[in-house]
């Protein structure tokens, strides 16, 4: 007798790329960025990743058990590991251990499971976790190692010691602001860009080190595009959004606003373009909707960076667009076969 709980409806053949496979590709695509992190900052990121993944798996299991799901099917989809990695990459590599634990806990329990788990979370859980940390522990998130000042890269053991030490960030002298937050504080002091440039290592085009992090994300993203795990619409429209807004600002006043190349390769732009706005669950799904979503997130990112109170605007921009995604989808329904002109549009 057939098992009627498992429907025997057609089609009877499948050729899909299962969700665990998709999540694995995303993890592979993060390898270049992680490598660059290790090169620039030492082994801190590896320790953060370990803590993040362990916390995420434990809390995901707990949430699934509480909600009455089988662990095997749901844990193996790998989505929570991706979440943990993205969040770990978003915080300073030598932030104390409890920062990532709190962030992951909030992301998994509130960002993901409170909304119904994978597929139902309306906000990108990694960004929800990041925003929670940013609002509650801004100091912990602002202490990035100043790359140009690091002489001795912390090894694995040293990293563990630093992260476990319960202090905020690295010893003074080697910790400081990122390029974006440095610009933010200097702009508040009414300095122009040509003045600011002399006070921090600007690297080749987008801040020493950060440009390489972004290029690494871009490489991973290119690979995801080639593997057709992400579709071009979201990342491209996001980059167009950031780039066009930056270009416009730069043309209007070059002393107050930096150019498109800087904004594309500064802060979390590329991380957002390929790993955050491309989260299918919380972004738009219609073809036109994807373009609007990306453009909107890009514009908002730029506006928050330039006019808001925070150095980087990626997380806020994405979460705001997440909230708008259902509306965008509703008003960007593609034309369907046989649609007549007088058919009522929804």
């Amino acid at each position: 007798m057939n098992d009627l709980t498992h429907p025997v409806s057609s089609p009877h053949i499948h050729d899909a790329r299962p969700v665990p496979w998709i999540m694995r590709q995303v993890l592979y695509a993060l390898i270049p960025a992680i490598t660059v992190y290790v090169y620039l900052f030492g082994c801190g990121i590896l320790v953060q990743l370990m803590i993040a993944i362990t916390t995420a798996l434990v809390l995901e299991s707990l949430a699934l058990l509480l909600r009455g799901y089988t662990l095997k099917a749901y844990l193996s989809d790998g989505s929570v590991v991706v979440l943990a990695c993205l969040l770990a990459l978003a915080i300073p590599p030598y932030a104390p251990w409890w920062v990532i634990v709190v962030g992951v806990a909030f992301a998994v329990l509130i960002g993901k499971h409170a909304f119904g788990g994978l597929g139902y979370n309306i906000f990108n859980p990694a960004m929800v976790g990041y925003l929670f940390l940013m609002l509650c522990y801004p100091a912990a998130l602002s202490k990035w190692p100043e790359m140009s000042k690091i002489v001795d890269y912390p090894g694995l053991l040293e990293s563990v010691r630093l992260i476990a030490a319960h202090s905020v960030g690295m010893p003074d002298g080697v910790s400081g602001a990122t390029v974006l937050s440095h610009i933010k504080t200097q702009m508040v002091l009414m300095h122009t860009h040509s003045e600011i440039e002399s006070t921090i290592n600007f690297g080749t085009f987008a801040g020493y080190g950060w440009e390489w992090v972004n290029i690494a994300y871009l490489c991973g993203g290119g690979w995801l595009l080639w593997r057709r795990v992400v579709k071009w619409r979201l990342p491209l429209s996001f980059m167009v959004g950031v780039g066009c807004a930056a270009l416009l600002g730069h043309v209007i006043d070059a002393e107050l606003h930096r150019g498109a190349v800087f904004h594309l390769f500064a802060g979390g732009t590329m991380l957002a373009a390929f790993f955050v706005v491309t989260d299918p669950v919380s972004s738009s799904t219609t073809p036109v909707g994807m373009l609007l979503f990306g453009l909107g997130a890009g514009l908002l990112t730029y506006c928050i960076r330039e006019f808001g109170g925070y150095p980087d605007g990626v997380a806020f921009a994405v979460v705001i667009m997440n909230a708008l995604a259902p509306l965008i989808d509703r008003f960007t329904q593609p034309r369907f076969y046989g649609k007549t002109s007088n058919t009522k549009h929804i």
């Binding site: 429907p7 409806s9 053949i13 899909a16 969700v19 597929g119 299918p280 799904t285 989808d329």
Partner: protein, 503 residues
């Protein structure tokens, strides 16, 4: 190669065709099985009415069940023998229900009742052609099973710019139309010409899929004047009626309408051959080509009598143990799993597919809204949004998202990374909305009747008021007069009831 410029529809998938396994093997003819099970309902219309009795001897070609109405379909005895039962038998059904069937125990002599042949089909009147199609009990053999005479009649009644003979077998494995064309190309083209003449079609196209080169060559070998042969790219579901219309004409069939409404008639190639045989030799639809394919060693096509038990058919292809297999009626994309192999072949079964029973992957079935489904949907729907509507039984949203334009092709579920049985959800939503509409129609009828009754009552009370007899004033009447009136009313009503009973 094609003279015609082809359009394309959006979406669709290139599937592994598996056609080479059977398309070059000559079809065989099955010996007559001992018992034939003939379901009274083999198509979308109304079930036929049996016109034979248990124990009655019937000859091949003899009518054993009559159509109940215009959309009904008569049934003929596929061989000679004795009617041994009229009862419920298991049939091909998604959840394995049984329906009313006639069981014919054959005598193996295959004695036939004479057929009324015509010498020259080219001079036959339109009306006579239609009559002969209706008498032969032909339904669309491509799968949907729409009565052929209704389709022909509709086409006669309208201006038809184009007649499309659909030989685009886009589902993997199925090659019965391919074999039919290779073995009887003359009948295909003669049938196409006949129908084109009868419905006065502007042009006539026979469309085959690009992976049917032998069939194309066979058709080219037959001289035919007005018929264009077109080869279609093998992208599933290019053989879908509306998709094929779009490929060949560049036009879309508006939602809620049929191809005939934009002047295009589409007939499956096997239906055309059946129509030709019915018109030419008076032959009713008694058998059809069925592909038997899948994961076993000797697949092929067989000319099978309608009513042949599937188990019998499979045994002739050397498939006896199916405990590790799933047996499907139809192709892998849209077929129905057969839960009981005693079920018979019906007029619409083009393929029996035997696939290894795969163990389902342990997946969470959560939609991650990746959008793979909407990029393959040939109708341009949003399966991921429809899924949410169907899952939450939001019937209004489902209809707003054009649920009823879904053609059940299965592309969305084929590519779904979470292997969500999307088609299952959509079919369920469709049938529950249809049931809801039926209930609403019944309730509306009841409400209308109730309102009419209220109107009648109020009209009566107005008459009473005019004659000075308000209902409230009953106490003012003389009691003996009242009693007399009541008795008279009671006797009137009992007399009326008696009359009704006699009627």
């Amino acid at each position: 190669m094609n003279m015609r410029e082809l359009s394309s529809f959006r979406g669709g998938i290139r599937l592994d065709s598996h056609k080479g396994e059977t398309q070059n093997i000559a079809s065989r003819t099955l010996p007559i099985p001992e018992k034939l099970i003939l379901p009274l309902q083999q198509h979308g219309g109304v079930a036929a009415e049996p016109c034979v009795e248990i124990g009655q001897r019937v000859l091949k070609n003899e009518i054993i069940a009559e159509a109940r109405n215009y959309f009904g379909m008569r049934l003929h005895a596929p061989s000679s023998g004795v009617i041994s039962a009229i009862n419920k038998f298991p049939v091909i059904h998604p959840i394995g229900l049984s329906t009313d069937c006639i069981e014919l125990t054959t005598d193996g002599e295959d004695m036939a009742r004479g057929l009324n042949t015509v010498n020259d089909v080219t001079s036959l009147e339109t009306e006579a052609v239609y009559q002969r199609v209706a008498e032969a009990g032909i339904v669309g053999l491509g799968g949907a099973g729409f009565p052929a005479h209704v389709k022909v009649q509709e086409a006669i009644g309208q201006t038809v710019d184009m007649l499309i003979i659909n030989a685009v077998e886009c589902e993997p494995y199925i090659t019965c139309d391919d074999r039919l064309i290779q073995e009887h190309p003359g009948e295909v083209l003669a049938g196409a010409a006949l129908i084109a003449r009868v419905i006065d079609a502007g042009e006539c196209i026979v469309a085959v899929e690009e992976d049917m080169p032998a069939a194309m060559a066979a058709l080219k070998g037959v001289p035919s004047a007005r018929i264009e042969l077109v080869s279609i790219p093998a992208i599933y579901p290019s053989g879908g009626e509306k998709q094929l219309v779009t490929i060949l004409t560049g036009r879309e069939v508006p939602t809620g309408l049929l191809p005939i409404d934009i002047g295009v008639a589409v007939l499956n190639v096997a239906t055309v051959v059946a129509i030709f045989r019915a018109v030419f030799s008076g032959k009713p639809l008694l058998d059809r080509l069925v592909t038997v394919a899948g994961d076993f060693c000797s697949p092929g096509n067989a000319n099978t009598l309608i009513g042949t038990p599937i188990k019998y058919l499979l045994e002739h292809f050397g498939v006896s143990d199916t405990s590790n297999h799933r047996v499907l009626a139809g192709g892998p994309m849209m077929g129905t799993e057969i839960l009981n192999l005693a079920a018979p072949i019906t007029k619409t079964v083009n393929c029996i597919l035997v696939l290894h029973r795969e163990t389902a992957e342990n997946l969470s079935n959560a939609c991650i809204r990746c959008g793979d489904c909407l990029s393959v949907c040939p109708v341009g729907l949003q399966p991921q949004q429809l899924f949410d509507a169907a899952r939450t039984s939001d019937v209004d949203l489902a209809q707003e998202l054009h649920l009823f334009d879904c053609i059940d092709c299965g592309c969305c579920a084929y590519v779904c990374p979470s292997q969500i049985p999307l088609v299952h959800y959509f079919r369920y939503a469709k049938s529950s909305i249809e049931a809801l509409d039926r209930d609403r129609a019944v309730a509306d009828g009841a409400r209308a009747r109730h309102e009419q009754q209220l109107q009648r009552l109020s009209a009566k009370s107005k008459i009473g008021a005019r004659s000075g007899l308000e209902l409230a004033d009953v106490s003012a009447l003389d009691p003996s007069e009242l009693e007399r009136d009541i008795k008279a009313a009671v006797s009137r009503s009992s007399k009326r009831r008696q009359n009704e009973n006699e009627l």
